[in-house]
Amino acid sequence: MDHQTAHKLEPEGDAPRRPVRELTAGEAVYLVEAFKGLGVTFRHFIKNLFNRRELPTVSYPEEKRDYGERFRGRHVLNLREDGTTKCVACMMCATICPARCIEIVAEESPTPAIEKRPKSFVIDGLRCVMCGFCVDACPCDAIYMTGEYDFAEYAREDFLWDLTHLTRRPSLADAPRGYRPRIE
């Protein structure tokens, strides 16, 4: 197929193409524009050479940038005053989860006023898409997301976040509280 026929195959009539501006004589020579470009890069070079502090680079991990307070990071399960988890194993979050990354096994709660509690609650961090639907779905204010975004592990198994991890991991002490529907 040569170029001519290829051109004809394009749909005609709808959405006219934006006309391409013809190059001016100066632009067609290329050299002038090339020197202008060199000027631009050199201005940046000199400016940044003497103002390195003003560069937008964030020297992670020593410097961290601030994210919004509704940032959707690694999950946390909230606890009641008495230290038990607020989760009642209603499976709302596991049902709405588009990534199917939440696995809950329910058991009977010893407290008469509460019907169920999770025997195990595992979020697969490698499947989670951090959409925050679980937080929206939760009727008991049990699952929140923190502002933690820098979690790396050596093994895939370590990304299976279980109950202890979700409620009592050490980094929670100073992790910023991230996404929850109502910000108190």
Binding site: A34, G37, T41, F42, H44, F45, N48, L49, R52, T57
Partner: protein, 443 residues
């Protein structure tokens, strides 16, 4: 006649020149990374350090080399093992051979012996340089073909087509320079030293001011053509068709890793230095100090020595102050523990004070210690140092230009490269020769 000492001297000079060119590679890599970062509003590598000494990031080059040395020496299945192994060296050898023909200063006479600042005084000079430089394409084709990979092969084909096309414009761009400088004081020669000596005169612009008679002022079009062609010959952006990674993965060295890849990398940078040397030699007067040819420098040796010392002194004081500023206001000391910083900061401070004091000593020497008259021998040496300095400064500018252009101009499309080479640069080079000839006949 050459005797044993001459041969020994030549061997030493070859080693020194090749080592100097190769050791420029890490510096250029560092400059490339840092300059590109600053041009793009980034910081560039600033973490690697040895006992707290980052040397402005140069240590990163050491880390890179260590990484490449420790990598597996991989050979793809069904590759031609022999050609695959010698391919990188077929690229490296021409790149490091060319520098030996480049003169860095006018030759001086020590006693009865003539000492030239040129590793080998090849009679063919310019022809030798072009002959050897064009051998590099064989290495690219061999490595592209032997790695048994479509993209390598395509990269190699492109590179051969591109280098053959641009060699023509490059050769023709030089013809204008040869027409003007090839015959000087009744002698015709291809020697680079000869061409550079011919650029030592000055030309008067309407009697208002004088310009040094450099190639760039009498052959501006030839200069632009040669510069563009040298970018194409060294496969640097905007002409890096052979390794156009958006179209060809990584081009002819797709299958290369570890030290073999590093050899390609090194030869690219050495070729860059060589090409800059050629541009300087042919179009920027080589080792000529502007407005001061060799005999003027030698006649005024005490003054030249004074200026050189003062210049070096000012530079050293400036460097010392800069280092002091950097040590006392270290902005980015991440990755270095406070304990190590407590140990290394005093060393850095003492070092910067030392450099500053050395600069002051040089300034004092320039003011008081330079004798008012010098022997002819000392005069020659002083002139040679001045010329060496001039050459290095010009070379430095062109090396920076290479990096600067790379991070400014986008890559051409392959058909654009070919069109530029055959339909624009070749006719322009021919016109340049014609015009040079007519102007030469008219005057």
């Amino acid at each position: 006649m050459m005797d044993g000492i001459d041969y020994l001297l030549m061997a030493i000079k070859v080693v020194v020149v090749v080592m100097a060119f190769v050791s420029l590679v890490p510096v250029l890599v560092w400059l490339e990374r840092r300059a590109s970062a600053l041009m793009q509003d980034r910081l560039g590598p600033n973490r690697t350090h040895v006992f707290g000494f980052k040397a402005f990031g140069i240590i990163q080059a050491v880390a890179d080399v260590a990484k490449l040395l420790l990598k597996e020496d991989f050979v793809p299945a069904k590759a031609d093992r022999l050609l695959y192994a010698i391919g990188p060296f077929m690229v490296l050898v021409p790149a490091v051979v060319v520098p030996i023909a480049i003169p860095f200063a006018d030759s001086i006479r020590l006693g009865a012996r003539e000492f030239s600042f040129q590793a080998a005084n090849v009679d063919g000079g310019l022809l030798f340089v072009f002959a050897i430089a064009s051998l590099g394409v064989y290495g690219l084709i061999l490595s592209g073909w032997s790695s048994n990979n479509k993209f390598s092969m395509l990269g190699a084909m492109r590179s051969s087509a591109q280098m053959v096309s641009y060699e023509i414009s490059m050769g023709l761009a030089v013809v204008g320079v040869l027409m003007l400088f090839g015959t000087y004081q009744g002698v015709s020669s291809f020697e680079l030293n000869h061409l550079i000596r011919a650029q030592g005169e000055t030309i008067s612009i309407f009697g208002l001011f004088t310009l040094p008679k450099w190639g760039v002022f009498v052959q501006p079009l030839g200069f632009l053509l040669f510069l563009a062609a040298s970018y194409a010959e060294t496969n640097r952006l905007p002409f890096d068709m052979p390794e156009d990674e958006s179209a060809l993965v990584a081009g002819y060295h797709t299958e290369y890793g570890g030290m073999k890849f590093a050899v390609f990398f090194m030869s690219e940078y050495v070729a860059m230095v060589t090409a800059s040397c050629l541009v300087v030699a042919l179009f920027f007067g080589g080792w000529q100090v502007p407005w001061a040819p060799t005999d003027v420098l030698r006649a005024n040796a005490p003054l030249v020595a004074r200026i050189l010392l003062a210049g070096a002194g000012v530079a050293a004081v400036g460097t010392g102050l800069l280092f002091w500023h950097l040590v006392t206001n270290e902005i980015y000391a991440y990755g270095i523990s406070p304990a190590i910083r407590r140990m290394t900061d005093p060393i850095k401070k003492i070092g910067s004070i030392g450099i500053g004091l050395a600069g002051l000593a040089m300034l004092a020497a320039a003011a008081f210690a330079v004798p008012t008259s010098m022997s002819a021998q000392a005069g020659q040496i002083v002139a040679a140092i001045a010329q060496l300095g001039a050459f290095v400064m010009k070379l430095g500018f062109f090396l920076f230009l290479y990096i600067w252009v790379r991070w400014t101009l986008p890559r051409f499309r392959y058909d654009q490269v070919m069109r530029l080479g055959w339909k624009v640069m070749l006719p322009l080079a021919l016109v340049n020769i014609l015009v040079t000839g007519f102007v030469g006949l008219a005057f």
